[in-house]
């Protein structure tokens, strides 16, 4: 039997819109808006000024502290301005670069030769190239690969459990070898020589392809097929599904000897090690019922959402007009209304959802049916957290587990009364932090 985690939900995968689309290249826009806060931790410090000439791949902002990552220019051109702009959730300093269309110059670090690929060198290279977790959170990879505890399992998260998103799936099929080599470099960086890959059983073709390629190349890779369920790609749930180990509450995965990283991160590591290419562009998926032409493509970092949408033919008109514009997946992404927001290292997906797909109704009173509690992969009681925090009782909300929420959205997804439970739990987490609980 295929292993999986306990509880969770089964949203319609809807990957058919874009899973047959080959990865193409989106031409870089004439102006890019590169955020200095593309990762968790401190924002990077700009090291260029207005009027400077920069080339593609050049470092334009450097890491500020250990948990931070440098940022690179995605085009060759001139720095027009440095100003504060909106990101999906907040505001951050953006370096605005106007592209010089005549120049094809690109900057690369010196590739690491076979013999130079030692643990220290790989870690150093990952740090220099500004690689962060590209699944969505953006945790600096060089920090993640140096855990305090002893690690015995390195897992690549290829579950891609969010509906619609297909960029990791396409990477598995089209960039199989670079991806596998990147994963092995990362394993080496944590001191291991074996890679485990977790793939859901709705992508068995990719799983078989990857394990065949790995076998023919003699890579030490084990592909494990997991039963499709959301949120399989959540770190703690994936570790449980792959190894049966439970990450203690409040601890990092390395506490049970595991490190999990994303598919695209592994590809970026390979490009950084073998080609010396810093992380300034990525593969993303644009999908949903409201977009004219769903696609998977390489996009330069700092491309405004509006440009990305027009590359995909723009929003549909008439009956299938989109009602929701989401940066990220439908379960954990952020609804935005501003097309001027620019893509970052972690923008894996843009979705335009139609009235049929997205929920836009009003919440009804809770009937205490317990469907949220039976869907919660973290075994919390969202209905009580919701009612406690809405009545101002932070202690009660914490008692029923508010602080352990991974915000996967299973509760609100399965709620018959359509209550915004995740929003309530976020409020509870914030209030609990403020109250020091």
């Amino acid at each position: 039997m295929q292993s999986t985690f306990k509880r969770g939900v089964h949203p319609a995968a809807n990957k058919g819109l874009s899973d047959k689309k080959n990865i193409v290249f989106m031409p870089p826009p004439s102006v890019v808006y590169i955020s200095t806060a593309q990762h968790i931790g401190k924002a990077a410090k700009p090291i260029v000024a207005k009027g400077d000439r920069v080339i593609e791949g050049q470092k334009i902002a450097e890491a500020d502290g250990f948990i931070s990552a440098p940022v690179f220019s995605s085009v060759t051109g001139t720095v027009k301005e440095i100003k504060t702009m909106n990101t999906p959730l907040a505001k951050a300093e953006h370096i605005i670069i106007e592209r010089d269309e005549t120049s094809e110059e690109t900057f690369r670090l010196k590739p690491l030769g076979e013999k130079q690929r030692t643990r220290e060198n790989i870690l150093e290279r990952i740090k220099e190239c500004g690689i962060v977790g590209m699944g969505g959170a953006g945790f600096p990879t060089h920090v993640k690969l140096q855990p305090k505890d002893k690690v015995d399992t390195f897992i690549i998260n290829a579950a891609e459990c969010e509906p619609y998103i297909t960029c990791d799936y396409r990477i598995l099929l089209e960039y199989t070898e670079p991806f596998l080599r990147g994963a092995l470099y990362m394993a080496k960086a944590v001191g291991l020589d074996k890679v485990y890959i977790g793939i859901e059983d709705n992508k068995t073709d990719a799983a078989n392809f990857v394990s065949n390629v790995a076998a023919s190349k003699g890579y030490n890779v084990e592909v494990k097929i997991l039963k499709s369920k959301y949120p399989q790609g959540a770190e703690k749930q994936l570790i449980y599904a792959m190894t049966g180990r439970k990450v203690p509450t409040g601890a990092l995965p390395s506490a049970v000897g595991a490190v999990v990283d994303n598919v695209h991160t592994a590809l970026s590591v390979c490009l950084a090690v073998e080609d010396g290419q810093p992380l300034y562009k990525r593969i993303m998926t644009v999908s949903g019922g409201g977009i004219t032409e769903p696609k998977n493509f390489w996009a330069a970092g700092g491309t405004q959402y509006g440009e990305i949408l027009s590359f995909c033919g723009g929003a549909k008109e008439g009956g299938d007009e989109p009602v929701k514009f989401i940066s990220g997946g439908p379960m954990m992404g952020i609804a935005v209304s501003d097309e001027e927001i620019a893509s970052t290292k972690t923008t894996s997906c843009l979705l335009l959802l139609t009235e049929d797909e997205a929920f836009t109704g009003k919440p009804q009173p809770c009937i205490n049916c317990g469907k949220c509690a039976s869907a919660c992969p973290m075994r919390l009681m969202p209905m009580y957290i919701d009612s406690f925090i809405l009545n101002g009782d932070v202690g009660g909300a914490v008692k029923y587990g508010a602080k352990n929420c991974i915000e996967c959205g299973c509760c609100a997804f399965s709620c018959p009364a359509k209550r915004p439970l995740v929003q309530s739990i976020r409020l509870a987490k914030k209030k609990a932090r403020e109250a020091g609980l």
Binding site: P11, K324, A335, I367, C369, L380, N404, Q423
Partner: protein
């Protein structure tokens, strides 16, 4: 496109499960076999009772919601809370919790067969008393138990059980007699009042519903089972809770009635316990009333405590108490205990590490010092 976008917190998609109304419709569908069986054994009056109770429940909720919550403002009908269908469910369950005909000694507004000089319940043609009591019970169930406490999901006990108990205590249980119009055996008192040692044919009659019962809905065990299976398949209720209630009721019947009270010989203990399970409101209450979302715990262990407690109280009342039937009381009492159960029995998060007792004591001491 920009001015039409909708912004909200994640998740942006929800399960297309039809919402609260779909759940209520599922409950109504699952009640259909029970209604059909009740009508078959007790006649058309069942349908009249159901129609009146549903109309009363919907009417009272609509009046309360439109009048008190919305002050009869514009749109009060459009946003009415009855649309979720829970009032209709309360109405149907309430009517199924009633006998076909009730005679209230104090006023007696019933019509009897004119050829009979000493009117008794079994010769009743039409009963205004029943309808009056149903309307009173609906008022209590919907307005007092549900709406005053905040509407759907906030009722502190099961509205139908509360309505039934309220009315039956008010008019006195003795006045209630059920009369079957179907087959021979269905005329007469319930097994619980007589408690003759059951044999195979009484048990079979109980199973198919051809027996006297104090409430029309509880007569046919097979119909209730069909409804139970439907609810479980539609994932409306958790299949474990009714099984826990019925299972522990069986055990308590063996213990209390079979061994302690009647000292039955071994051969009769099991049929006696079976009769306990099959008669009265035990099955109906276990499937339709104790599983009410708002008033049952939300964890498996909590439900286990709740289920065993319900069965224990019901059997105590049946065997040692003053009433032949105790299921409604048992459900009401355990409904009130539910918040307490949910307070102490709740799941620990995934990956929860138990703090060792000594360590915890230390921590508490340190906390106290601070």
């Amino acid at each position: 496109m920009k001015d039409k976008l909708f912004v909200s917190a994640s998740p942006h998609i929800t399960q297309n499960n039809g919402g609260v109304r779909r759940i209520m419709i599922d409950v109504l569908v699952s009640l259909c076999p029970v209604i059909i069986a009740a009508t078959f054994f007790f006649g058309y009056a069942v349908l009249i009772n159901i129609a009146v109770a549903v109309a009363a429940c919907i009417g009272f909720e609509l009046l309360y919601d439109a009048g008190i919550n919305h002050k009869f403002k514009k749109g009060c009908l459009k946003n009415a809370s009855i649309k979720d269908g829970s009032a209709a469910v309360t109405g149907v369950i309430l009517a199924l919790n009633f006998p076909t005909f009730v005679k209230v000694e104090a006023w007696d507004f019933n019509f009897y067969d004119p050829r009979i000089h000493t009117p008794i319940v079994s010769d009743m043609i039409f009963s205004f008393d029943t309808l009056l009591l149903l309307i009173l019970a609906s008022l209590f169930a919907v307005v007092v138990v549900k709406m005053l406490f905040g509407g759907i999901g906030k009722n502190f006990v099961n509205p139908a059980a509360a309505g039934r108990v309220f009315v039956f205590i008010m008019v006195g249980l003795a006045a209630v007699q059920t009369v079957g119009l179907g087959l021979d055996a269905s005329t007469g008192a319930t097994w619980l009042e007589g408690k003759v040692t059951p044999n195979g044919s009484t048990l079979l009659n109980m199973l198919i519903g051809n027996t006297g019962s104090a409430a029309v809905g509880e007569t046919c065990a097979i119909a209730i089972l069909i409804g139970f299976v439907y609810l479980v398949i539609r994932k409306v209720i958790d299949f474990k809770l009714p099984l826990v209630i019925v299972g522990s009721a069986f055990v308590f019947a063996v213990l209390f009635d079979g061994l302690i009270k009647q000292h039955l010989p071994i051969g009769e203990i099991l049929p006696n316990a079976c009769a306990h399970v099959l008669s009265g409101g035990l099955l109906f209450g276990a499937v339709y009333m104790s599983t009410d979302y708002a008033t049952s715990p939300n964890t498996d262990w909590g439900r286990a405590i709740y289920g065993v407690g319900t069965a224990l109280i019901a059997m105590l009342i049946r065997v040692f108490g003053g009433y032949p039937e105790g299921m409604s009381f048992a459900i009401l009492i355990m409904n009130i205990v539910t918040p307490l159960i949910d307070r102490y029995v709740y799941p620990r998060p995934f990956g929860y590490v138990k703090v060792k007792k000594e360590k915890k004591k230390k921590q508490d001491k340190e906390g106290a010092k601070v």
